[in-house]
């Protein structure tokens, strides 16, 4: 490699924050004395800026539904993956049903959440058992009853304020419900249960008679976020919940 080429590569590495610490001083000296080198630095930075100007808009576009799991219809790969996924779910469900002593009372997580949502969101005066003003108490109490550390995620940035929460009889296990409300009075609920038999799952979605429920299981805790507002918006909130619970 000629010296010129090596120098040129150093300049690229400098702009890209890839330069070795040992060479940094050398490159800075080069930039100070050689106008052509300085021009190259500017060119590289300008290209970067123009590429971002041209394509960063894509980051803010809504992701098309076909790219969001579990919608996978087009290709063979998708079909195979879906087949395996269904097979796995079938085996898992079969195993759970076989294993469950009280299978009749065992309602799936999203259904429990949807029922609890439907039961309490219409309430005006008794929507919650413990109001958000006593959040510390609420969280302590629910954590104790569930036998796991639960928290009420902050959703204010997304426009939802915590109203409070309540303890619920789950399918043989207690469940916790946190209720949120936006400025327009629309309500979301986050349902949390603990089950030692729970196995981690991916993010899943269920439409329960028009109610959107996103649910997942993480370290024995099952979470379900329910609401009848826009599905995309609920998904955004669900992601925020997930991120806060898994920092």
């Amino acid at each position: 490699m000629s010296t010129d080429t090596a120098r040129e590569h150093d300049i690229h590495a400098f702009v890209d924050n890839e330069i070795d610490a040992a060479r940094l001083a050398e490159v800075e000296a080069l930039l100070a004395r050689d106008p052509a080198a300085a021009t190259l630095v500017n060119d590289i930075r300008e290209q970067r800026a123009r590429l971002h100007a041209a394509f960063d808009g894509v980051l803010d576009e809504a992701v098309p539904a076909r790219l969001m799991r579990p919608v996978r219809q087009r290709s063979r790969f998708g079909a195979i993956a879906a087949a395996f996924a269904w097979l796995a779910i079938g085996v898992a469900v079969g195993w759970m049903v076989r294993d469950a002593r009280d299978e009749r009372t065992r309602m799936p997580l999203p259904r429990q959440a949807a029922v609890a949502h439907a039961a309490f969101t219409p309430e005006v005066r008794h929507a919650v058992e413990v109001p958000a003003s006593e959040e510390a108490h609420l969280v302590r109490w629910l954590s104790k009853r569930l036998g796991a550390n639960v928290r009420a995620p902050r959703l204010n940035e997304l426009g939802y304020e915590l109203l409070g929460g309540r303890l619920l009889p789950g399918a043989g296990k207690p469940g916790a419900q946190f209720m949120y409300q936006d400025a327009g009075g629309r309500r979301l609920t986050l349902y949390v249960t603990k089950d030692a038999d729970n196995r981690d799952t991916a993010f899943r979605y269920l439409n329960e008679n028009g109610l959107h429920v996103f649910y997942w299981i993480d370290q024995q805790l099952g979470y379900a976020l329910s609401g009848d507002i826009d599905k995309e918006q609920i998904l955004r909130v669900a992601r925020a919940v997930y991120e806060q619970l898994n920092p």
Partner: protein
């Protein structure tokens, strides 16, 4: 696989941005993203949480893209990369912003190899060693390809606008 989908979801906008810049076409780009996600879904058991997910996904996208380019080249005489160039140029014509026009049209005229390295570094901010792993090339090759790509893009940009008379082949 518990967090896999969620983790991947966070990268979809970046995969889409890169694919858009690579192919210059909205639908083609999203097809590429979809194929990539499907492949990732099948291969997720090979992914180790210790490895950064983003480079892993970009590596899958690179392989899918290269295979598509090859398959297309076999099917037709025109390579997919040429289609991409045409798509990029068409998109550039539709755009209202002259500056954006220029860069999109010029990007289309870079060789595919150079376009990939340039976009991974300058647009996606991946570091050289990640880019090397993504494209299965040594770091030295990343550096030299990157330098060539930027020089060529500079030449193209100089020739495309601002009334320059420089002829670019």
């Amino acid at each position: 696989m518990s967090r896999f989908d969620l983790l991947i979801d966070a990268h979809i906008p970046h995969l889409r941005r890169y694919a858009r810049a690579l192919t210059g076409d909205v639908a083609r780009a999203d097809d590429l993203v979809q194929d990539t996600l499907e492949r990732a879904w099948i291969k997720f058991h090979l992914w180790q949480p210790a490895l950064a997910l983003r480079p892993w996904l970009f590596a899958i996208m690179h392989n899918v893209y290269v295979n598509q380019v090859r398959a297309n080249a076999r099917r037709a005489h025109s390579a997919l990369a040429d289609d991409d160039a045409a798509a990029l140029a068409a998109r550039a014509n539709q755009s209202d912003m002259l500056e954006v026009n220029d860069i999109i049209a010029c990007l289309a005229r870079l060789p595919q190899e150079q376009r990939e390295v340039l976009l991974l570094v300058s647009l996606e901010d991946l570091n050289y060693s990640e880019v090397g792993r993504i494209l299965s090339i040594p770091i030295g090759t990343v550096t030299s390809r990157l330098a060539r790509a930027r020089t060529k893009l500079r030449t193209l940009l100089d020739g495309s606008g601002q009334g320059s008379l420089k002829v670019v082949k």
